[in-house]
């Protein structure tokens, strides 16, 4: 039986992007944050390397209705754009969380048994 999963560079990029979206949503689970805060957290967690790429991602999440934004005055510097999870975003995050755990379990099972058949 052939069971070879090739690693494909464009798919990897897609995957990274896919994961990031939900990491952003997860960071917003406990309340609003502004863009730079989000990027800093993702960067610290080594989930993002080109920090600037998060901003277009945030724009897309907003377009998709997963987050909404509002401007807030800042004590230092210009007003900041704050991001907040919408009910749709929350539902999407919940779905992902469930699937993620299930999938991890399945994959862990496979990785640990090193090929069941």
């Amino acid at each position: 039986m052939q069971c070879m999963v090739q690693s494909r560079a464009p798919q990897l990029a897609q995957m990274r992007k896919g994961a990031l979206e939900y990491c952003v949503l997860a960071l917003l689970r406990d309340g609003e944050r502004y863009g730079f805060e989000l990027v800093r957290e993702l960067s610290n967690a080594e989930l993002v390397t080109s920090e600037g790429t998060i901003y277009p991602l945030l724009a897309r999440l907003r377009q998709d209705g997963a987050v909404e934004t509002s401007w807030r005055e800042s004590t230092q510097g210009p007003p900041r754009r704050y991001y907040k999870l919408t009910p749709e975003g929350k539902a999407s995050l919940d779905f992902f969380t469930t699937e993620w755990h299930r999938f991890c379990q399945a994959v862990d099972g496979l990785l640990e048994s090193r090929g069941v058949r």
């Binding site: 995957m15 990274r16 920090e51 277009p56």
Partner: protein, 225 residues
């Protein structure tokens, strides 16, 4: 160099960077481009105030972390390009690392990429699944509910169907009809035995005709090897 001169030198680096970014984003509508550029400008300002760069090489490192203008543009322009169904998109990319490996040494990426590889592979399946169907643990969408384009004569690529939730036999028949081969891996799962619990490539991906789709099939609960 005096602090003042150095400061304006560093500012000039930022402006050069932002203008390159703006150029890379030229295909975006002006309003979105301006917004993105101003967000990145803010980001750079925040980073600078956290730990002020002392010289050009500090500033270069800071801008490296922000990323190559073309990488940021690539993400921004994604929404503008419909998921391609043409052959071009199904072809593998040209060999060799992305350009920015040459221009920017990004230590973080190498470590993160290695570490995140497994994690990231896992996510892809989930993301693709979540996007294309409404399959959940307790709900399985019948195959017929998901519309699929028929395979056209002379076509070289085909869209991988979502077969998660189907029996292995049904999935096999469906994949064969679209010109794909498949491999099956059994895994113990809470799903009923014989049901496909994951697939790679994910449903919705364009793949060359003849490509192999790896199916993970449940062998039922508690029957692990």
């Amino acid at each position: 160099m005096s602090d003042l001169v150095m400061g304006s030198d560093l500012n000039a680096m930022v402006e050069a960077y932002l203008s390159e970014l703006s150029g890379a984003l030229s295909r975006l509508p002006a309003s979105r481009r301006d917004q993105l550029v101003s967000e990145i400008r803010e980001h750079i300002t925040e980073r600078r105030s956290e730990r002020p760069p002392r010289d050009r090489s500090d500033m270069e490192a800071l801008l490296n972390r922000v990323g190559l203008p073309e990488d940021i543009a690539a993400v921004a322009l994604e929404d503008m390009e419909e998921p391609a169904s043409d052959i071009q998109s199904a072809l593998p990319p040209p060999a060799g690392p992305p350009r920015w490996h040459h221009r920017f040494s990004n230590r973080v990426l190498v470590g993160a990429a290695a570490g995140a590889l497994v994690l990231v592979v896992v996510v892809a399946g989930i993301v693709a699944t979540g996007r294309s169907t409404s399959v959940t643990r307790s709900q399985i969408v019948p195959a017929a509910a998901v519309p699929r384009p028929p395979r056209l004569p002379g076509q070289h690529v085909s869209v991988v169907p979502v077969v998660i939730g189907e029996s292995q036999a049904a999935a096999a028949a469906e994949l064969a009809a679209l010109g794909f081969t498949y491999s099956a891996i059994d895994v113990s799962s809470t799903a009923p035995a014989g049901i496909v619990v994951s697939q790679s490539p994910a449903g919705g991906a364009s793949q060359p005709i003849g490509a192999d789709v790896v199916l993970t099939v449940s062998s039922g609960p508690g029957s692990s090897s």
